[in-house]
């Protein structure tokens, strides 16, 4: 197979995974909520001085328009990718200067994953296929059970949360040799239903607390752990800030 055919294949696989993702598609409940807020502001905007009418009324008009269109322009602008089912899609990749089989083995050791991924609190392996995941969330922690849906040693792992989980999510991680002896390409694809829909994703991203950003950090941490055995740091170095060392 030529490289072009191969990469076409990979692209098709990516598309199949994301099932025709598009930008910022809102969920129905979210549309209703945003629409109600917009209409409320529109009504409020009818009273008061010219400035208030312009500001509040304008905001209300904007939100109503967003609800009618059914897509969140902010989400589209910051490139939140979602599918028609309202799931948020994330993919991220990193090249690590080690062979794929080694990296797969590190990852397959599920209960050690919290060492690699800073926002993971714990992974408890329940059986060969099942495990219980706990992540740190802005308000306490969230926990769910997941099942391994595909396991190709040295190449790929896929998983999905069990029905009734607090956060409906699934994902896969691929390990493939990088061209030219550069180690391995590690690709992670995640799909999840965000609490509070697109608005939640946008708010979390602005706060720097969203899985896409955490995933990037985690993959870089993984790469550095594998290549160096530690993460570089400037924490604790001297400076002229109050208290000196920071």
């Amino acid at each position: 197979m030529t490289n072009i055919q191969k990469s076409g294949f990979q692209e098709a696989a990516r598309k199949a995974f994301f099932q025709g993702g598009n930008g910022g598609q809102m969920q129905d409940t979210e549309r209703v909520a945003v629409g109600a807020l917009g209409l409320g502001l529109l009504i409020l905007g009818l009273g008061g001085g010219a400035g208030r009418r312009l500001l509040v009324g304008g905001l209300g008009l904007g939100l109503t328009a967003v609800a009618v269109r059914g897509s969140n322009p902010l989400a589209t602008a910051i490139k939140v990718e979602q599918n028609n089912a309202g799931q948020t899609l994330i993919s991220e990749a990193v090249t690590v200067n080690k062979n794929a089989a080694e990296l797969y083995d590190v990852w397959r050791d599920l209960d050690k994953l919290p060492n690699l991924m800073s926002h993971l609190q714990s992974v408890v392996v329940l059986s060969e296929k099942r495990s219980r995941w706990t992540v740190k969330a802005p308000l306490g922690s969230v926990s769910w059970e997941a099942e391994i849906t595909a396991d190709e040693p040295g190449k790929r792992l896929a998983w999905a949360s069990l029905p009734g989980s607090s956060i409906d999510n699934s994902g896969e991680i691929l390990f493939r040799p990088a061209p030219g002896g550069r180690g391995s390409e590690v690709v992670v694809r995640l799909k999840y239903r965000a609490p509070l829909g697109t608005a939640g994703v946008v708010a979390a991203r602005i706060a720097g607390q969203e899985p896409a950003q955490q995933l990037r950090d985690d993959l870089m941490r993984f790469k550095r752990e594998q290549e160096l055995g530690f993460a570089p740091t400037t924490q604790g170095q001297s400076s002229g800030r109050a208290g000196g060392a920071k």
Binding site: E227, L228, S238, G240
Partner: protein, 401 residues
Amino acid sequence: MKAVLWQGTNHVSVETVPDPTLLLPSDAIVRVSSTAICGSDLHLLDGFIPSMEKGDILGHEFMGEVVEVGRDVKTLKVGDRVVIPFNIACGTCDYCQRGLFSACDNSNPNHRMAEALYGATSGGGLFGYSHLYGGYAGGQAQYVRVPFADVGGFKIETDLPDEQVLFLTDIFPTGYQAAENCNIVRGRDVVAVFGAGPVGQFAARSAQMLGAAKVIIVDRFPERLRLAAEAGIETINYEKEDVLIALKEATGGRGPDHVIDAVGLEAHGHGPGALLDTAQQKMKLTFDRITALRWAILSCAKGGTVSMPGVYGGLVDKLPLGAAFAKGLTFKMGQTHTHRYIRPLLAHIEAGDIDPSFVITHRAALADAPQLYKTFRDKHDGCIKVVLNPWGEAAQGVKQA
């Protein structure tokens, strides 16, 4: 210890801060014997590099003696005399393995910040050069923590004085890489260098070392042009003559085969382009003033190289890309892969091919840094290059720039 601190735009101070400590087993602590102010420190002083924080220790050109090593450091020991490249490299990642040390994948803990600004992947860390580049404390201080000490600590085993080896940490390799990037054909190619500051001086002399048939340097300060002329470099003062016409005449109408832009984002100059750049920069509509780059592209001969050691920060417009396309130019740019050049250039110094101390015009104590930042920025007092002694007595007292 005493250290030079960035306190805000146009405000540098010297203060007492805690001594550095080993943070990782691969670190070393170096007692700084000499440190310099670099032209790119002026971008920090002027506030053009984002993500500086009040209290950051400045400086990325320094050398000294190893006084402490972490348990994983293998090649250095206490008492070794070392020069330290200004960029921090892990030595392990694919980029370092290919000699692209400034592109190190692993040395910047703030990779996310750099990726947000510059796209897919970040560059490596730099000493004393903003949090975008890792937020590492710099070497304009009495002591400095050197991360990845086995990769970034180069032993000097001869008794060459500091002043001859200090510039191996940045400006000499930076000028040399700029000349090397031109792929000069010995005895045939003409090279023009825009900017006769320290990097421009080293670029011009490196072009000579690499066999350029003729080297021409462009600046507006007579003392800088004089310094270049002493080495047999032709000079053009762009305030006295039209630089594009002068370069054309000096090259028989062809233009220089290669042009080095050793100026970067704070170019001065004249003409409508320069005026527009300045106006846009004042209105925060643009980061970079690109007069030097514009002249470089317009003057370069067909099939030539535009080599850019000068620092650019953001987005650029009114770039004569049509001219670059029409002439089939090659662009080479980026931070210096300093680690690659230290040993070969040290050999040149040891062989007596070049004495890098020729650029030094000012020597002072660390405490005089605030005044000298100003002197250097304003090119007062014939200032071309400043070397600071962290242990010397202040001549002028502690002042603020």
